[in-house]
């Protein structure tokens, strides 16, 4: 199989800027094209990652970005997969190139997010589980994250100090990242002094919602070679597998898990299955990783990911964290970008932003957050309703 390579990565800084999501996407797309040394007219396929909080243009994001860049007749797709939308757009673009249908594809995701808790889309929809979990349970996203956090505490002896340590680490990583929203040291005492949102999680344990935009220019290896791109970053795997029945780990927006009566729980729970499929596709394992970008919707969830991507056995994430292995300078830095802790979440842009970070790390252009000698990285993400992704990039 011919490889797909990243020719350019670009972002609009995360924050609350008060502009249209189209402006952030346009900015990111132009930055990625500039880094690739390509013109928008060179792009044969544009894959947009949708936002559901910005009206109709957000539902047809691929066309919205194509229009903003200027209609060229490029083929287009628009993908929605909740938090995994960006990875789904990436998967669509990569498949086009692998199929030989185009040489160059542009992947763009951007969001302008409201402040505060995410809420279900508008209207009275008592048949929609996302509407019902707010109505009947008052179960916000952070409340689900808090359920996972408490479970870690009970099963593995995680403590609020461990959760704070994740925040302190990621805040330090994000300090020098020009695209991060929060660029400031955070102390464990500050985490402990922040208000409880959903016990056991505090405000500084939970990621914020943000504006932001991210884009990637992908190309076939042959095309990149013809353009003289030396040793480009390769996309070695994109996994978007669904869970396997019975899904026994509670997920947003479920009221209940599947019952494990007729069939035993799968060998790998959902998040682990996402990573495993990517490792299989890339022909590598966790020991080959130089770094990982994981979806730290909460500090505690970062610890779950350590185990899901195979950095350590179940129950050993706290020990791995305390050892310093996942800090910059450690054996396998996790979230060198600063993660969602430093960015907040711009839903359709976030999975693309993770791959931007892998690209810059593997090129060795990540500045003072550079992982020394980075060769292989994984970016993992969990959406809603059974969507998720794992992307492996190599040098």
């Amino acid at each position: 199989m011919s490889d797909v390579v990243v020719m350019g990565a670009g972002m609009h800084p995360w924050g609350k800027w008060g502009r249209s999501f189209v402006a952030y996407g346009l900015h990111a797309a132009r930055a990625a094209l500039a880094e690739a040394g390509l013109e928008w007219r060179d792009v044969g396929y544009v894959a947009g990652a949708d936002t559901i909080r910005n009206g109709y243009p957000g539902f047809v994001a691929g066309a919205t970005f194509a229009q903003a860049l200027g209609w060229t007749g490029a083929r287009v797709s628009s993908s929605y997969a909740a938090c995994a939308s960006g990875a789904q757009a990436l998967a669509a673009a990569r498949a086009q190139i692998l199929a030989g249908l185009c040489d160059v594809a542009l992947v763009v995701g951007a969001d302008a997010a409201p402040k505060g808790f995410f809420r279900p889309v508008g209207g009275d929809r008592p048949g929609d589980p996302d509407w019902l979990r707010f109505r009947l349970l008052g179960a916000t996203n952070p409340l689900y994250f808090a359920l996972y956090a408490r479970r870690r505490m009970a099963l593995y002896g995680a403590t609020p100090d461990d959760f704070a340590r994740v925040k302190v680490k990621n805040a330090r990583h994000g300090l020098g990242n020009p695209n991060a929203r929060y660029r400031k040291e955070v102390t464990a005492a500050e985490v402990a002094a922040s208000p409880v949102v959903s016990d056991p999680l505090r405000l500084l344990d939970v990621c914020a919602t943000s504006d932001g935009g991210a884009a990637l220019v992908l190309a076939s290896q042959e095309y990149a070679r013809r353009r003289g791109t030396g040793a480009p970053v390769r996309i070695a795997a994109v996994s978007t597998v669904t869970p396997t029945f019975p899904k026994t780990v509670l997920d947003l927006p479920d009221f209940a898990t599947d019952a494990a009566v007729a069939a035993p729980p799968p060998e790998r729970p959902f998040r682990a299955a996402l990573a495993h499929a990517a490792y299989e596709e890339a022909g590598i394992g966790p020991d080959d990783l130089s770094l990982a970008e994981v979806y730290d919707l909460s500090t505690a969830l970062e610890l779950d990911w350590y185990e899901d991507i195979g950095l350590c056995p179940a129950g050993a994430a706290e020990t791995l964290l305390r050892s310093g292995a996942t800090e910059l300078g450690g054996r396998v830095p996790v979230n060198p970008s600063g993660g969602l802790a430093s960015f907040g979440e711009a839903v359709p842009a976030q999975a693309i932003a993770q791959v931007c970070e892998l690209t810059w790390q593997l090129r060795g252009t990540a500045g003072d957050r550079q992982v020394t000698g980075a060769r292989t990285g994984i970016a993992v993400n969990q959406g809603l309703f059974g969507h998720g992704s794992a992307v492996i990039a190599t040098r």
């Binding site: 505060g116 179960a139 956090a149 479970r151 949102v197 509670l250 209940a256 019952a259 009566v261 069939a263």
Partner: protein, 148 residues
Amino acid sequence: MDATKERRPAVDGWFTPAPDVRLLGTRCTACGTPYFPRNDLACRNPACEGPRDGSELTEHTLSATGRVWSFADARYRPPPPSVSPEPFRPYIVAAVELDAERMVVLGRVAPDVSLDDLAVGQTVELTEGVLYEDDTTAYTVWMWRPLP
């Protein structure tokens, strides 16, 4: 709560009212998989050898007790369509593992129970409580409470 108010479930057909509060779901007669909330479409077990056209699904009443898988509270008012009292009062949600069904079900925790009263692994039972009220009606849901 005003005792003269009419009590009505906040959702129809998900649970039986007090005193014998039970969750109502469905169950596949072919492979035995129970569902909550109810699934009437088709059994979702890909290995099920039933017809998987919905005819295999029958009414099922779930266990009334289980063990706490995890729990968390809400300290801030959630957005609509949640309905919260004025002034806002924090509330607890528990995820409870049902032994017979081998599944985890979410529910509010009875309002007189505090975080300190709860522990992962402890046995809880179903009760009914008021989720919100208007001028004439108290709307109820299933809730979990520790066994006495």
